[in-house]
Point group: C2
Amino acid sequence: VTGDEGFSAEVIRQLDLLVAGTDHGDPGLAAAMRRELGERLAEGRPLRVYQGFDPTSPHVHLGHGVGLSKLALFQELGHDVTFLIGDFTARIGDPTGRSATRPALTTEEIAANAQTYADQAFRIMDRARTRIAWNSEWLADMRLADVVRLASSMTLAQVLVREDFRKRLDDGAPIHLHEFLYALLQGEDAAHLGTDVQVGGTDQLFNILAGREVMKARGLRPQVVLTCPLLVGTDGRQKMSKSHGNDIGIAIDPKDMYGKVMSLPDDAMADYWRLASGLPPGEVDEAVRATDSGAWHPRDAKMRLARRIVLRWHGADAAAAAEAAFVQQFQRREVPDDVAPLPVPAGAASLVDLLMATGIPKSRSEARRLVEGGGVSLDGTRLDDAAALPELPDGAVLKVGKRHFFRLAR
Amino acid sequence: VTGDEGFSAEVIRQLDLLVAGTDHGDPGLAAAMRRELGERLAEGRPLRVYQGFDPTSPHVHLGHGVGLSKLALFQELGHDVTFLIGDFTARIGDPTGRSATRPALTTEEIAANAQTYADQAFRIMDRARTRIAWNSEWLADMRLADVVRLASSMTLAQVLVREDFRKRLDDGAPIHLHEFLYALLQGEDAAHLGTDVQVGGTDQLFNILAGREVMKARGLRPQVVLTCPLLVGTDGRQKMSKSHGNDIGIAIDPKDMYGKVMSLPDDAMADYWRLASGLPPGEVDEAVRATDSGAWHPRDAKMRLARRIVLRWHGADAAAAAEAAFVQQFQRREVPDDVAPLPVPAGAASLVDLLMATGIPKSRSEARRLVEGGGVSLDGTRLDDAAALPELPDGAVLKVGKRHFFRLAR
């Protein structure tokens, strides 16, 4: 990569892993950030990395997982990670009272949310090597004179670079002045922590860059910015968010997580491989290629993705169980609505006896061949022994061949 | 006046005095402020009135005097006046370091400036009935959470109504975000003081209106705004300011004050009558009429104005002395540069003897008539006694008739 001149192979290896999947909106900025990150990695010390988290909700979903994965990667590479709880603003909420999604929370609510949040994050991060910080620690005692100095480090024009501010100003929608302060406070966090790198979503790019300005105004070396794209939700269109109802929570039942990934539109898969699989860049590229080329059947590809994501957050056993459950449920879903009832013959002593009662096989040998060929299942579970009579729950669905279904009735 | 419906004669009398000479830029705002002020006056209690002063300089000039006069008037009408020293921002200065005129001052410098400032203000205000407040008292301890709430009470659009902000944004000139805070802090002052009325210059209109927004956001009754036009300086064009070198300081020598008023362009006189004379509206109108109609000779009109202004700040004796000194100096200024020397005749025993030596009067009786007609003066002082010989200082200028000057030489 041009710009990597003078870096060691190890620095380049780390760079490739760390910047994979990041998005800075602007190739110039991306190149500058890669260079700056490389320069710090070249110093051979553990970098101080942080991401801020909004503790207004305890809910962590795969969208949050994108940043958490990046933090976990930094940890794997030996760097120091701070998990910054933005409790200060959560305590204030939205002073204008306009936003129902920004209620003011009590210290106890915030602490409980943060604990739940961190517990979820530690499914992939290293608990022992994560520092947790609360920004109220330095923000709550900030005096007006400090705030004035902080505010003086940015201009209105710099703030209006932020797309949503500019758009709201142009549209005549109100921008309350404290919103500018909120951006600056992220800068105060960065300056206070003296970080090397801040990780965040692309929607935080402006705030993270504001941190660079604040650090420069303090005579500090400005932090490297690593922004990750926002993951789309299960609708494949909007960014993942609990309020959009398109989220995949990481603490939900593994079977539900698997099923939700399976419900993704096909064209969202590449993004999920890149942002949610936690695989290294090479394996991600391979999976995306196999999916796009059709080398993997779309349903198989999605099952691999789902299994990988469940494995990441819940472990291999849970992933295998979730897949088995999905397969079973999926096959049950194939059952047509109007299934013919099949009274179980009183004298049936084997599966073949049962099959003969359906009228589908022409002969007992055809019935045996059907079973041996895997063409018979009960409630989605394949039946292999033609000579034995399986357990026959009332209402269970017997599938014979590809298209014949019967609901058992005793 | 429409809008005065329901007010008593006393309320209307006070209103007429108090709103005289104010300017709100917008007739609708002016009418609303008059109505609101009337409603408070109708409550029959002493109103709480304040003006803020920037203690970065101890220098008070007639431009500051406009607001001080309004405060003095409130006091005369029985209201409570607070003289608010803006020491908080003076201590911070301009954190961007761009403005040489906004140095950060020490507490001692600020206190000394404020003391000097107040001493000058008390030439026209009632010291015993003036409360002095320092805004650092409530601003210095303000925490970030309070600042966030304060900032949430205004929107960017409201701030950009301020002409200079809008212009700077459009021109691409930097507006640092703390400048917004400074406007809001004036609102915090108003809310803290719980004032009925804030007085200020028209250049402060935005900040004072911001105070109304802050008060509304706190559930307080918003203060009445009374803004006074800015007095032009001695150049008759730019607003009076020490940095423009066009100011008339109120602590300068009364003779200099008189002379500076005399140096005003004729077309600035009406403004000075209105804003700097301290006269009630009826007398101001009369003076402006007499000046404009030519009923008063322009120089006489200006002398009346100068005398009135010196009287206001330095008292009647100083005003009379300043006028006499001006007249003398003015007449001396009429003396041409190349005055003919007049050796005093050795045997001269009377003014007539002296005048005959000039060669101007054709006869002793013409000389006597000249004296009796007021046509003879020495160093600007008229000589009345033709028969006596006045004291004749070496170098004094003798004026004979309208155009003849002689410098006495012994």
